[in-house]
Structure formats: C-alpha cells, structure tokens
Amino acid sequence: MAILITPDDVRFADLKRARNGRWPEDRSEEVSTIALCLSAQDTAEVLQRVVSAGQRPTIRSGGHCYEDFYANNPKGTLIDMSMQSQVSALSNNASYRIEAGATLGRTYQELYKLYNVTLPGGTCDSVGIGGHVTGGGYGFVSRLYGTTADWLSGVDILTVDAAGKVTMRSCSAKQDGDLFRACRGAGGGNFGLIVAYTFEKLPPAPQEVMVSNMIFPWAEMSEEKFARIFDAFGGYFATRGQDPDTWGLFGVIEANHKASGYMRVSAQFCNPDGTCKETKVLDEFLALFEGLKPSATVPVGAGNSSSQSFGPHMMTRIPWAETGAAGGARRGLTRGKYKSTCMKKKFTEYEIRTLFKYLTQTRPGVDFSRTLLEVDSYGGAMNRKEMLEETVAFQRSSIMKLQYQTYWSDPAEDEGHTSWMHEFYKEVYSGSDVDAAHQGTPYPGANYEGCYINWCDRDMTEYSYWPELYYGPNYDFLQQVKRKYDPNNVFHHAMSIRP
C-alpha cells in the first residue's frame, strides 16, 4: 500500500519541496498529494488511480531535476519512487536490476561490495537512478566505459494506453525496442513511469584511482593565464585525450567566478585495467599546467585537497570504495540555475574572452561566490558511434561538456542570477562561429553538439528548435514513440517530448 501524504500531514511541507529551492515557484503550482510507493504493484495502482481521476502524475526518484518538471503540478499527484531502491543481481552475478528510487551512492556501494562492478557515472551520490539513467548518465569513468544508458539492457516501465489503462512493460532491444531505445537518452517524465532498470553486464569497478587538484587563485589570475588554462585543457582533449590509453582520465575545470577566490583543475585517473600502477598519462596531463603555477592547496574555507606527492605531481591515491559516500537528500536549501553545452572542439579565443568577462563581472546585489562554469572532459568510450543507433543520445563527437552553474539562497537574488546566466550563455554562443539562425545557442554543427537533457534548462524552449539542441536528429523518432506509448500525453513537463 502506497503512503499518501497530503497537505494536512506534517511531512508534506518538506516532501513537496524540490532539491532546487526555486521549485515549486509558486503555491499554486504545488501538488496536492505525494504518493510514496513501496513496490511496483503499488506504483501501478497509484498511477491508475491518478489517471482515472483526471489528475496529472509527476514522478520523482532522486529529486535532482534542475528544473520544475516534477514539482510544478498544480493539485496533481507526485509519485515518489525513493522507497524502491533495491540493487540486486538476477543470476550468477550477471543481469543487475536497479530500482528507480536507488541513489547513485547506494548503487555504487552495493554494486561494488556485492558484485565488484560499477556504473559509468555520475558524480553525485544523492542523484536518483530513475531520472539519471534515462537521461544518459555520465561521470568520472565514462570516458573509459561510456554512459550508463549505453549499458542498459532493459527497462521496466508503466505506460498509460489510449484508453487510460496502466500497463507494465518490460522493454528491451527485443521487446518494445523503440520505447527501449527512447529510454536510453530521452530523459525522465516522457513516456511512462520507470520502475527499474536492468543491465545484463556492467563494467568492472576500478581497483583504485588517482586524484589530483590544481588550484589557481583569482588573485594571481590574468586574462592571459585564464586563456592558457582553457586552451591547455581543451587542446588536450581535442588531441591526446582521444587516444584509448587516456580514456581513464577524467578532467574537470571548475571555473569558479572571481568572487569565490579560486579556480581549480582536477583529474581522476586510472589506467584501462583499473589500476594506477603506472601514472604516465596523468603526469602528462598535469604537466600541461605546470607553467601556470598551480598550487595544491585550496584557499581557506574552500574544501579539502590533502594531496600527496607521487612522482613529479601532487596526487592522492584513493581506493575505489572510498570514492562514493552515500549522501542524504537535501531539499530546498539552495536555489540554482544551470545550462549546458557539448563541445566538439577546443575553446576559441572569443569563447575564452567571454568566459573571462562574465566570470569576473560583478553586479549589484548579486553574490557570485557560488557561481561557476564546470568544464568536464568527454569523449573516449562515450563517442562510440555504434551507440548512435542503439540510444537516442546523439552527442557522440564531443570532447568536453560544459555546465554553467550558479547558486544562491535568497529568493531576492533570483532575477539577478538567472538574467546574468542568460546573458552569459547567450553571449558565449553569439560569436562568428555560430550561424545567424542559431545565435545564442550551441546548435549542433562543426563546433557544438547542443545541450544535455539531464542538465535541463527550461529557458531553451524560447528557441523553436530547442528539441534539436537536445536530441539532434532523433526528435522525430522520439515523437513517434511518444504518440505510440503515451498518446494522451499523461507524462509531460516543460521540456517533455511533444506528442
């Protein structure tokens, strides 16, 4: 029996909130019921009741959605999957079944301890499997192993047929293959309610990784140095980073706004055999930044970086099991705005100049101390072209993935942060490399591969061609799947596939 939480329940005020403190934006957008479903059977019953009553269901697994996709559901029912979080192996330690409500942290721990395998990504322990995997899912070992959706072999999903009847489907390449393919990259809340994912195989957990941090205080930063950091990073992944022996290297530029005091370039590394016996590749990467005089210590108050020296560079050896500590779900404390870009080439001079301009800009009444551009390395196994046909993730030529992020707590700063971010992003993609029809966006072409749906950004719907940014040539296919499996558009949100 599902547990139904209504506004008269003391838990309602907390459970209705999204992780992003901006949602729901307004009381009128609040749900009227939160259904904590304890089993697949429960979930099917609740969904049927909601649909038959003419309510709109929205779904939450880990609740990490950047936008208001599940939280904005006026008087509807929020189906919460977080109580269904089992991670199990179906037979002979193969065919793993992970329920939608499991968090990444729990999944990593169990997969490692029980079966010595791992998921290719993401990086945040409290992210939910439910929304994450269907949107792609990538992280520190994705250059080595591909995206999580690439490894998927089955999805248990509840769909609502034309007559409004809820049906449980176990889809795979052989059964409802079109729906299965669509679930590999389209993102959550589109076709049905995912109860669990199945993976016939998963990659082995690395034995250990090397982690290294290089800190660049803003006090010592010049525009020229800034440009050299971005150029070195982008240049590496556009060239040497394509070689398979480097795929175990995952680099990140944490380009914090000047107000935070420093920028960081970090790397996690293991060789393709999952060990760090040899660190030549990591050394090579770190050497690129040597001339820029990074320090290994973060300024006071900015997190820890206790590094040890192995060979010429500062790095820390960490057993795999310690890279993921389960985290709790924090709701509503921080407000955030995000944008994303998939890049096929290294940064242009224009882009770097614009990044510098905005990351050093101040605006009255806006605190940028928690604002950053995160540049993640991409490519490697994620760019295997054979996955184009099997999934709907079309970004298979990128070398970097950018995530623009800004965080704040005071609602009075909403407008300041969101408009700054809007202008920042628009200007970066208004250079001469972007054709006139797509100014302001990383439209798929020679330089860019659009945006990433797991890092959703509702504002992009201002461009009529936004589906091409997120789904490239696959949008027509996704619309066909939508019309077939959700003809009444029961599952919808601001960026869901239009029927």
């Binding site: 309510q55 008087k75 029961v490």
Partner: protein, 371 residues
C-alpha cells in the same frame, strides 16, 4: 445619472446567457455564451478571426458596422459575462511552453469597445483549446482543451480579469477514427445549477462535471457510438435533454438529462445528418422547439417534438458554415463561413430560417459573442 443607467443595463444584460462558437473551415470548434438585449437600440457583436477580435455595432440584426479591431492570437472561443469578454486562444505555444491562453477584455457598455484586461496561460500541455463557458454565477470560466485533452478552470477576479488556472482535469481515451488517437474535449455548456456538460470528440464520451472551489471533477460519464466524434452540444432551455452533433459519422443525438443530480439518464435518439466534413455545429431556438445543425455543408432545421427530432424540409444550401448561432430574441440565425457572417431571419411562427444574407465580410471568422 449615466451610472444608474449603466448599472441597469448591466443587470438587464446579465440575465442573458447562451452560447455558440464558430469554427473556421476545417477547424472544428464548439459554441458557448452570448447575450442579447431585446429592447436595447444598439447591440454589439464580437467576432474572433485569425487576425484578432473585430467589434461591430449591429442594428436590426442586419447592419454590422465595424467599431474596433483588437489583436488576439487565434480567438477560437468567446463568451460574455458581466460586460467582460472572455476569449480562448487556440494556440499551441505560449512563452516557449506548450499551452494555450485565455484573455479577458472589459466591454464599454455604451460604445461596445473592448479594453484589454489580461492574458493568462492555460496549464502545461493544454494546447489548442477550443471551447469556453462562463459559470452561471460569473465566478469562473471553464476551457475545453482539444489538443491537450483536458479541462481547465480559471477564476474570474472582482475586476473581471482572469486568475491563474485553479482546476485541471486531464482526460484519457481514444476512438477508432484516425482523428481519435487521444481525448479531445471540444465543447461545453453550463446547466443553470453550475454543472458543466462537456463533449469529447476523441474518446466518444459525454461528461458531466461539477465545479467546487474552482476545481473540476467528473460526476457522470456516458459513452456514445464508437467513432462518432461528438463535437458540439446544446442544452434544451428546460434542461431535461441536450443535443449533441457528432462530426465523424455526421449525426445528431439527443440525451435525457437529470439536472437535479447532473446525470445523463438515457440516449433518446440518433439521427443521420445530411453531409459531413469533420465539422459539426448546433444551435437551438430559445423556444426549445427547433434545432439548427450543420455538418459543414448546408444548414438544416429540425423540429423538436417531445423527445423526438423531426427533420424539417427547410434547409439552406450552398453555404459551408463552421458554426451556427441563434440570437436570444429568436429573430436571427447567424452562420460563420470561410469569409463572411451570414444572417438568416427566423420565422416567428414556423421557426424556420430564411435565405441567408451576408452581414459582414471577414476572413476566416472563428467565434462570435453578441451583447
């Protein structure tokens, strides 16, 4: 002095409410509310067209004089209540999101001119709305969302403007016809108690809904002939029955209605209607003794004898109306065609329409309301 007269006129006009919404060719719609002033010298007509809302003063039901044009996005349905004009914009996207919108305008009681009040988005995925009705107490509008398969309730604020959507009812369902892949609420009317009768062209269903605290809930569902596509509805003035025009099998049905509990008691009769091209509209004479129908080509008159519909020999050929509209004074039947508004005089004795006369030229009129 003017204030007193103004109020008097308002009260007088508030006592009238009716409906008819007019679709353009190939854009099936439904009908809703109109007002009519029996003895007032000047009346005003509001015609929604592709380019906006055209305001006319009308005299003797025959002379339409253009007063004003307001830009409005695809005003597919309109209704008047308390000197406010409510409009539904049959669009599929607003501010980047998939949804239609509704608008409120103030009507100047003496000049008939409109003043824009506000525009509010419908609920997410409420695309291509098509029907609109104002509650009898004037506190809310209900919108039938054809594309998005839903109903939306929007409260009317004291100043006549519209509030944000307070009630959403998401429909499911389908039918065998290729145009019936999902639910398509297309028309609705209020009974005098404040319940909503709605027809769903996609799921072949008739529904009765209640409104409570500006939320909407279904209290009665009635399945009609599979593949028939109910598109338009009129309630008999005595409210003991209602008529539905089915677009996909070109037919008209009557149903017994129990207004005391809001239930559809029985299907009484289904008659085949001449021709059909996917559009169906109805209008009923205020006496409750005659019904006018069109299924896209020609206008046909029916006598309502007890619970039986009898096809009259009277019909108007060579017109292709999208929708029909009878004035409360029972003197005129209006039809919106692809490029004009036609008026047919209704014979006071036989209640049958005369030959049509063009009273206004307008490109693709969509909806009408008269006060």
């Amino acid at each position: 002095m003017k204030r007193v007269t103004d109020c008097h006129r308002r009260r007088f006009l508030q006592t009238f409410a009716g409906a008819t919404l007019l679709p353009s060719l190939r854009v099936p719609l439904c009908g809703q509310t109109f007002l009519s002033a029996l003895h007032w010298p000047t009346r005003f007509a509001y015609l929604g067209a592709h380019d906006g809302i055209h305001v006319y003063s009308i005299a003797g039901d025959e002379t339409f004089i253009k007063l004003q044009m307001m830009t409005s996005a695809y005003p597919v349905a309109m209704a008047i209540s308390n000197w406010n004009l409510y409009v539904v914009n049959g669009i599929s996207e607003f501010a980047g999101l998939p949804r239609g919108t509704a608008e409120s305008y103030g009507i100047d009681a003496w000049s008939g001119k409109l003043t824009f009040r506000n525009r509010v988005p419908l609920s997410l995925s409420a695309i291509s709305p098509r029907g609109l009705a104002v509650s009898p107490d004037g506190s809310a509008i209900v919108v039938a969302v054809h594309g998005g398969g839903a109903y939306n309730v929007l409260p009317i604020r004291e100043d006549g403007s519209l509030g944000r959507v307070t009630g959403i009812l998401k429909e499911t369902g389908s039918g065998p016809h290729r145009l019936q892949v999902s639910a398509h609420p297309s028309a609705l009317v209020f009974d005098s108690v404040g319940r909503v009768l709605g027809v769903d062209q996609g799921s072949d269903r008739l529904n009765v809904f209640t409104l409570r605290n500006h939320e909407i809930a279904a209290i009665c569902r009635h399945k009609v002939i599979s593949g028939s596509g109910p598109m338009s509805i009129v309630l008999h003035p005595k409210e003991k029955r209602f008529f539905v025009a089915q677009a996909l099998n070109a037919s008209i049905s009557s149903f017994k209605y129990d207004p005391s509990v809001g239930s559809i008691v029985d299907h009484e009769q289904t008659v085949a209607a001449p021709v059909g091209d996917g559009i169906a509209s109805l209008a009923i004479h205020p006496s409750g003794k005659a019904l006018y129908s069109s299924h896209g080509r020609g206008i046909y008159a029916w006598r309502i004898a007890g619970n039986v519909l009898v096809h009259s020999s009277s019909h108007v050929e060579n017109v292709q109306p999208g929708a029909l509209y009878v004035t409360k004074n029972a003197k005129s039947l209006f039809a919106l065609t692809d490029d004009s508004v036609l008026r047919m005089r209704i014979d006071a004795f036989t209640e049958m329409p005369s030959a049509p006369v063009k009273v206004a030229s307008l490109c693709k009129p969509l909806s009408v309301a008269i006060v």
